[in-house]
């Protein structure tokens, strides 16, 4: 199925994320089937590289050892963030879709520089235990939900938890539904209408 306007979407998914939410590669394939470009931006311990995995272009930024940061109580991964922002700037993306708070921070820096929209899907298990469990964690969470143009939950249970703990009303799109994501991305031309706090 071909859509009228082709979107070039960056899907930011740190390797440890996505336990609950849609798999970024599955979403990239679904978007590809609808005629859009989608690239997965991730990170790993090795040097930066680009590869095609399961039919999806995947760009890995280098993740430096985070043990010293973890020892000092910081959330993570934080070290790939500057390189991820650089990759986003180089990629001429129409939109960035982040799946974790550190990914969202990278996307929001890019949003500040380019003015383009950012979608944040909370793909982790939401619980009080994990909301402020490490340094910078709560600040990243608050920034992601306050500044992203749209906040999404992968299912209704996650949405209920986000309502309970973060007082937001996220949109729910199950799994890697390409059509639903496409509609949502295109609706972000009027971003203020879709922020959970605006509802």
């Amino acid at each position: 199925m071909r859509t009228s306007a082709r979107l070039n979407v960056a899907l930011l998914q740190a390797p440890t994320q996505g336990v609950r939410g849609p798999d970024a590669r599955a979403l990239a394939r679904a978007l590809g089937e609808r005629g859009h470009g989608a690239t997965v931006l991730s990170s790993h311990r090795g040097p930066s590289r680009t590869s095609v995995e399961e039919g999806v272009q995947t760009i890995y930024s280098r993740r430096w050892p985070e043990a010293p940061l973890r020892f000092r109580g910081f959330t993570g991964p934080l070290t790939p963030i500057p390189q991820t922002v650089a990759r986003l700037l180089r990629g001429r993306y129409d939109l960035a879709h982040a799946f974790s708070p550190p990914d969202a921070l990278a996307a929001l820096w890019w949003q500040r520089l380019t003015g383009r929209p950012v979608v944040f899907t909370w793909s982790e298990h939401v619980s009080r235990e994990s909301l402020a469990d490490r340094r910078l964690r709560l600040r990243l969470v608050e920034k992601a939900i306050a500044d992203a143009n749209a906040v999404m939950a992968p299912d209704h249970e996650a949405a209920a938890q986000l309502r309970r703990w973060l007082m937001i009303e996220p949109r729910v799109i199950d799994g890697a539904d390409g059509a639903a994501h496409e509609r949502m991305y295109k609706s972000l031309r009027r971003p203020a209408d879709h922020h959970p706090r605006a509802q």
Binding site: R72, G73, R128, R135, W165, L166, M167
Partner: protein, 322 residues
């Protein structure tokens, strides 16, 4: 809404809507029967924030949560708590703070102890929130650890009877810091005691700050001089009846040593106890000690700023506390 309840929880809230929500969620899980207690929040949030945090909360839907808004910038913990307990429907008033998370048995344990010791102050334990334990690795953190009965009766976890609050006239609204300590000292002067409540646990948030951030945060403690002036008996808990705590004693000693170091190098020896203390603060282990050494300058600046703040407070309130 005019029905009496056994116990009212009073919370003063300012600039912490998310933490307040988490507190309300923790109160929702209390084991004490819902018809026996209520929660009153006195805050300075705008109507939209209040609707989102408070009106939309399930406790409000069942009539157990009420809130009172005051004009932004007009509040203080003392004023807000006084507003709260005066409109509360309970004969017992439990205070906690908007950056705390009570355990599910909190109210039940407080109520049980209050029934065994009518008219006394009931204090539960306050511990740094284990959910936020990792943040203790930060160089500058703010949290509380209180094993009851403590000398200061902080409002993060304390219960008073309405009759006692009436007799004391509530919190001293002129006090900018230490108003909770002042209230408990007034109660002690009336012959009341602080009774510990086993199992009434509150977990306090652990917040990390930058050095400028913690200096700003601690600047308010200069007003502890007002507390010492109003309640001189609080000095009984001070080292040498002059220093707020041992750290301030060591810091003052180190500053005095630094001041005379130009005349005699022996003066620097006076700084040794503080430096030893600062290097040992992370506990044993080479790695921990290394971090403590790296953090030492920031810790010294922080302690010196606290003492400097108290000097300013002492001048303002005309009584010496360091």
């Amino acid at each position: 809404m005019d029905e009496r309840v056994a116990l009212s929880v009073v919370v003063a809230s300012h600039a912490r809507p998310l933490r307040l929500r988490w507190l309300l969620n923790a109160l929702e899980d209390q084991t004490l029967s819902g018809d026996r207690w209520e929660v009153l929040v006195v805050h300075d949030y705008d109507p939209e924030t209040a609707a989102r945090v408070l009106d939309d909360h399930p406790l409000a839907a069942v009539g157990r949560l009420r809130h009172e808004a005051i004009d932004p910038g007009t509040g203080s913990p003392a004023r807000q708590r006084n507003i709260g307990w005066r409109i509360a429907r309970g004969d017992l008033i439990a205070f906690t703070d908007d950056d705390c998370r009570p355990s599910s048995e909190w109210l039940e344990a407080l109520l049980e102890t209050a029934a065994q010791h009518p008219g006394q102050l009931v204090q539960g334990a306050t511990y740094p929130d284990p959910f936020e334990d990792a943040i203790l690795a930060a160089p500058h953190v703010r949290t509380l650890y209180i094993e009851p009965p403590g000398p200061y009766a902080q409002t993060c976890n304390i219960l008073y009877s309405r009759e006692l609050l009436d007799g004391l006239g509530g919190f001293d609204e002129k006090a900018i810091a230490g108003e909770d300590v002042g209230l408990s000292l007034g109660a002690k002067a009336m012959g009341r005691e602080i009774v510990p409540a086993a199992g009434a646990i509150v977990y306090h948030s652990i917040e990390s700050h930058s050095l400028p951030g913690i200096l700003r945060q601690n600047w308010k403690w200069r007003h502890l001089a007002y507390l010492a002036k109003r309640h001189p008996e609080v000095r009984a808990t001070f080292p040498l009846r002059l220093f707020w705590d041992r750290n301030h004693l060591l810091t003052t000693e180190a500053l005095a040593g630094a001041a005379v170091a130009g005349r005699t190098r022996w003066g620097l020896l006076l700084a040794a106890p503080l430096l030893v203390d600062v290097v040992r603060r992370r506990g044993p282990g080479r790695r921990r000690k290394a971090f403590a050494v790296v953090e030492a300058p920031g810790q010294v600046v922080r302690q010196a700023a606290e003492v400097g703040g108290l000097v300013a407070g002492s001048l303002r309130h005309r009584t010496l506390v360091l």
